[in-house]
């Protein structure tokens, strides 16, 4: 031994009491993790700005939408009929800069949309081919309201309704989203329902889902 450990233990400048070790560990831990969270948020902001810049700089937002559509198509399991209408909808051109400036603004606000209709991406999880038609007037949406739909029914009352239909306010740059989940065994047919303003119960539009009588699809 070259040093004298007992002497070192007496040196309060170099050694902390063991009683304080745990609290010191916690303080250091929080300092490290809060800094990492801050860096992560900055990275996410920088990355989001770069992504949006890439789309806007192309001078044609339809290019961006086309790439997104292709991507989702490649991912499979989706029939993005509403994404297609999104690409056709002039409201999108107003939407993109809004989202850059304020991530809290969703496409449902219809800002700058003179048509009275806006588009919402539709996400469908279904074992069979499923098509969606939606007519939605978001300009009639009340302040603080949100679109909602209870259940979709067939004209044939013997067939079970589709209940797993949700307007998700969403958390990322493509929110909100209409999410539809079709259970295994749901009979082929056309199911319809009324879209309402959940704050006022006033109708905003209609939602129609057609489930094809087809073989299960392999998404791989």
């Amino acid at each position: 031994m070259d040093g004298d450990p007992s002497k070192s233990e007496d040196d309060s400048r170099d050694r902390r009491s063991f009683e304080s070790v745990a609290s010191d560990a916690v303080a250091k831990g929080y300092k490290v993790i809060e800094e990492q969270i801050r860096q992560g948020q900055q990275f996410a902001r920088d990355f989001a700005d770069r992504s949006l810049d890439a789309g806007v700089l192309s001078g044609d937002t339809s290019d961006l939408i086309e790439r997104i559509m292709t991507f989702y198509t490649d991912l499979g399991a989706l029939w993005f009929e509403m994404i297609e209408s999104l690409a056709r909808n002039p409201a999108l051109r107003d939407l993109m800069p809004n989202r850059r400036n304020n991530g809290a603004d969703g496409p449902t606000n219809g800002a700058g949309n003179g048509t009275g209709h806006a588009s919402i991406p539709v996400e469908i999880v279904s074992p069979v081919r499923t098509d969606v038609k939606m007519i939605l007037d978001l300009q009639s949406l009340s302040a603080g309201g949100a679109p909602g739909v209870h259940e979709l029914r067939s004209l044939d009352s013997a067939k079970p309704p589709i209940r797993n239909v949700v307007f998700d306010p969403g958390t990322d740059s493509w929110s909100p989203v209409l999410r539809v989940t079709i259970e295994q065994g749901q009979p082929a047919d056309t199911y319809t329902g009324v879209i309402i303003d959940t704050a006022t119960n006033e109708p905003l539009g209609t939602l129609c889902i057609r489930i094809a009588d087809a073989e299960p699809r392999d998404f791989r």
Binding site: D2, F18, V21, V32, I33, A77, V125, T181, R220
Partner: protein, 344 residues
């Protein structure tokens, strides 16, 4: 907070979710040519067992938030596949000799085949994540893939930090450096990512995720320090080479503490020993470092440090799960924090 964490709960859930994960995982390892030089190697580490903490934490978190087990299973399998892939590469990078009680893959088959097996296992971990789209929907599946990319990048950064310290024989490190390295190298894959994706699956991505970074960090860091302590004091059940971290020159909390307390001449000798390649270090030198750690109380210090972090993990748990209904899965997650210190 729930207090009904029985002694058997954590081992039982680890066994239950671990067995399910391993069963599904087997199906992702191709049973085709070339067996001897690739696919047999891929199956080796997963077959050796392991604690299965990562996939179990993912499944339990998802279920605690209301998901079905099947919704989280693909992600749990991907976690375990990637974990085993990284272990293969870690063992090569660390020149480790034992893994889970048997020789490491590169010791058995040579470095080139082991690297290739690790690469393949890593790529195979993408398959269950891609297939997630049919279980949780494409939007959430994509979000999980994004989380996976983030976690893999953080893990690589942490591994680079530690390997860089060893290559450059960096000795001027403090505990904050260590915690940042552990956060990236260990905590993301071990606890943060399983918690976050589990919560995303359970809530359909409708949950604030930052609290899971805090919980996972404190849990994972306590886990890592305890793992490093076991490397110094464990018995034969540990499954790794005793004092292997000293042989490999790993910058553990105990070593960093020793550097900060050692007398100048001791620090000089320590630095010289750490500069050596593993095969150049002698038994006598490793024993000297180990004894010095005891003399300066580095082992006890690290244990106290880890207990402090575990306390913070329990605090973060209570914040996240305050309004989540009581369940076996919730109790399991809480119990993991103390289980970290009970495992061998």
């Amino acid at each position: 907070m729930s207090t009904a964490v029985t002694p058997d709960l954590v081992p039982n859930v680890l066994r239950e979710y671990g067995d399910i994960t391993k069963t599904v995982l087997k199906g992702y390892i191709p049973s085709q040519h070339p067996h001897r030089h690739l696919y047999d190697l891929l199956a080796d580490y997963p077959q050796r067992g392991g604690k299965m903490m990562r996939p179990s934490l993912c499944i339990a978190t998802a279920r605690a938030f209301g998901a079905k087990l099947e919704d989280a299973l693909n992600t749990a399998v991907a976690i375990e596949l990637l974990h085993n892939a990284l272990l293969i590469h870690d063992d090569i990078e660390d020149d480790s000799e034992e893994r889970r009680g048997s020789p490491t893959l590169h010791v058995l088959h040579g470095v080139p085949l082991a690297i290739n097996a690790g690469d393949t296992l890593s790529l195979l971990s993408l398959r269950p994540l891609i297939e997630n789209k049919a279980k949780v929907g494409p939007r959430l599946a994509l979000r999980i893939l994004e989380e996976t990319e983030c976690m893999a990048r953080k893990s690589a950064e942490g591994q680079a930090m530690e390997l860089g310290w060893r290559r450059d024989n960096t000795t001027e490190l403090d505990e904050s450096d260590y915690l940042e390295m552990v956060l990236k190298k260990t905590c993301w894959l071990a606890a943060i990512y399983p918690s976050r994706v589990g919560a995303m699956i359970g809530t359909r991505d409708n949950v604030e995720l930052n609290p899971f970074i805090r919980f996972g960090f404190f849990l994972g860091a306590a886990f890592q320090i305890q793992d490093d302590l076991l490397n110094l004091v464990a018995d034969a059940r540990y499954g790794k080479e005793l004092d292997g971290d000293i042989w490999e020159g790993k910058r553990t909390l105990m070593l960093i503490r020793l550097f900060s307390l050692a007398a100048p001449r001791e620090r000089e000798r320590l630095t010289a020993i750490m500069r050596l390649a593993r095969e150049e270090r002698t038994e006598e030198e490793v024993s000297w470092i180990r004894a010095l750690m005891d003399r300066y109380g580095c082992v006890d210090y690290a244990r106290q440090f880890a207990h402090g972090l575990a306390g913070a993990a329990l605090h973060e748990f209570s914040l996240i799960y305050r309004d989540v209904p009581d369940s076996r899965d919730k109790r399991f997650i809480e119990g993991l924090v103390t289980w970290v210190f009970e495992r061998t």
